[in-house]
Amino acid sequence: MSAVTVNDLNVWFGVGADRSYAVQNVTFDVDDGESFGLVGESGSGKSTILRAIAGLVPTWSGEMTVAGETLGPKRSKSFYSKVQMVFQDPYASLHPRQTVDRVLSEAMGLHGVENIDTRIGQLLDDVGLGPGFRFRYPHQLSGGQRQRVAIARALACDPSILLLDEPTSALDVSVQAEILNLLVDLRREHKLTYIMVSHDLGVVGHLCERIGVMKDGRFEEVLSVEAMRRSEAQSPYTKHLLESSINSIR
């Protein structure tokens, strides 16, 4: 069964003559438990797709079905308990005046979770933060710790689908490794479906099974990571991306 189906999605900004398309004729589906990557350069529309699914961009056309629910202009309450998002910049995604405890308990409260106190402890354990972090403010946390809190917030309502918008691009490589490992573990434990946006083929290759390569708002090609490793990319743009990304010294 597909967790997410996107059919002929168009997203635009501006009105009238100023209308410009950020995403055009994009079609893909993601299986239950699969991890799908969206790759492209800045401005290629990859984040816009995530935002359209999440309901943060109102101007779109096409068909989107998420976890069996066909999406209209407004998202239902049950949608948000199935789909959550992790944002790119951990310094901007936490309210500067709210403690970790407040962030998590509000998220749980909104979803009607019971036993909030014990659940918060569990959640913090899940993302590798001890109970000592529970009452800290964001400015008392490092970038990696903030991103862990953001992931905990996304997991607060036990969603089945996680939208990851460049979750590690603002972090140092060593911290990036920790977060990627965490995402791998969480996916296994909670049987999550991921849609991940990144400009880094290495990161996407680590976490995803299939990749959609985007350019100028369109899909250049969709291929499996395996195929990409075997250099079976068809489109010249994908080949070019691969060439510029493979910079390992080993």
Partner: protein, 304 residues
């Protein structure tokens, strides 16, 4: 000694263990920042002194502020047991000053409760809702902004009748638009931040987002602006008093006192000057405090 050290450690702990501790700790750190600014602390001391004067006015006053004694009129400071002298009706200026502090602080408190609140609501609603609501609310704000403040207040008082409450109302009605502007500008930047998106994705409604997530961030810049405006509010109130449209005689409002002293300013300087110094002191104190609060409350503060 050891308990106070323990309290300090508890407050500065990097790992608070309860909601209460986290909240107290953040207040305490703010207080430490505030305390490190000497001018701000000076402003705070002046304000505390004025507030204590207002509270204990009956104890501190040497005379009845309303008792007239025409035989003792226009006495110089220090004469006949009148610390700051007497006015044209022989009333003790020192005692009137103390009771006047009550009125000034009363006015300030009322205005502070009304104007920023109205501004906050109008601004955040307008900024968050956008569309035609934004256009409508902002045009109304523009209309209020387009009038000179004192003139508009005058018009209101003239329509409503003279008196302190009406003066407060008039000042509040003219003071809210700048707050609405600030709140709207803040809201526009906050609205598109990822933490607001994140809470939206948790299914939070507009009311919750505005009151629980946007207000706390706007309030700090409003508080700063209010403390900086406080001087202006007191001066407007004094101005209305001076024009005879604020507090009515014989009430010892500072502006009205200056107004009365105006006639004698050349020969009996203290009648107008001493309430003037009081207004100056309270305005300055609020300004200094506002400057310091900016350092504490600025949401862009860093942990470095």
């Amino acid at each position: 000694m050891s308990t106070s050290q323990g309290l300090r450690d508890w407050l500065l702990s990097e790992e608070p263990t309860s909601r209460r501790q986290a909240r107290f700790a953040s207040w305490y750190k703010g207080w430490l920042t505030l305390r490190s600014n000497r001018l701000t602390m000076f402003g705070l001391y002046v304000l505390a002194f004025l507030i204590l004067c207002a509270i204990f006015a009956p104890v501190l006053a040497s005379h009845d502020p309303f008792a007239q004694d025409l035989g003792q009129r226009l006495l110089a400071p220090g004469e006949n047991g009148h610390l700051f002298g007497t006015d044209s009706l022989g009333r003790d200026i020192y005692s009137r000053l103390l009771y006047g502090a009550r009125i000034s602080i009363y006015i300030v408190l009322l205005v502070v409760m009304v104007a920023p609140l109205v501004g906050l609501i109008v601004g955040t609603v307008s900024g968050y809702a956008g569309g035609w609501i934004d256009v409508l609310l902002m045009r109304i704000t523009d209309i209020f902004l387009a009038f000179p403040r004192l003139i508009l207040a005058l018009a209101f008082v003239a329509a409503l009748g003279a008196g302190i409450e009406n003066a407060v109302l008039a000042i509040s009605l003219t003071a809210w638009p700048p707050y609405a502007r600030i709140a709207r500008a803040e809201t526009l930047t906050i609205r598109n931040s990822d933490y607001i998106h994140a809470i939206k994705l948790q299914g939070a409604g507009a009311f919750r987002i505005v009151t629980k997530h946007i207000w706390p961030l706007c309030i700090s810049s409003l508080v700063i602006r209010v403390t900086l405006d406080m001087a202006g509010i007191i001066l407007t109130a004094a101005g209305l008093g001076f024009l005879g449209l604020g507090a009515q005689p014989p009430s010892p409002e500072w502006g009205a006192m200056i107004s009365e002293g105006r006639k004698y300013i050349l020969d009996y300087w203290w009648v107008a000057t001493i309430p003037g110094i009081a207004i100056f002191a309270i305005s300055l104190a609020f300004n200094l405090l506002g400057d310091g609060l900016r350092d504490v409350l600025d949401p862009k503060e860093d942990n470095s």
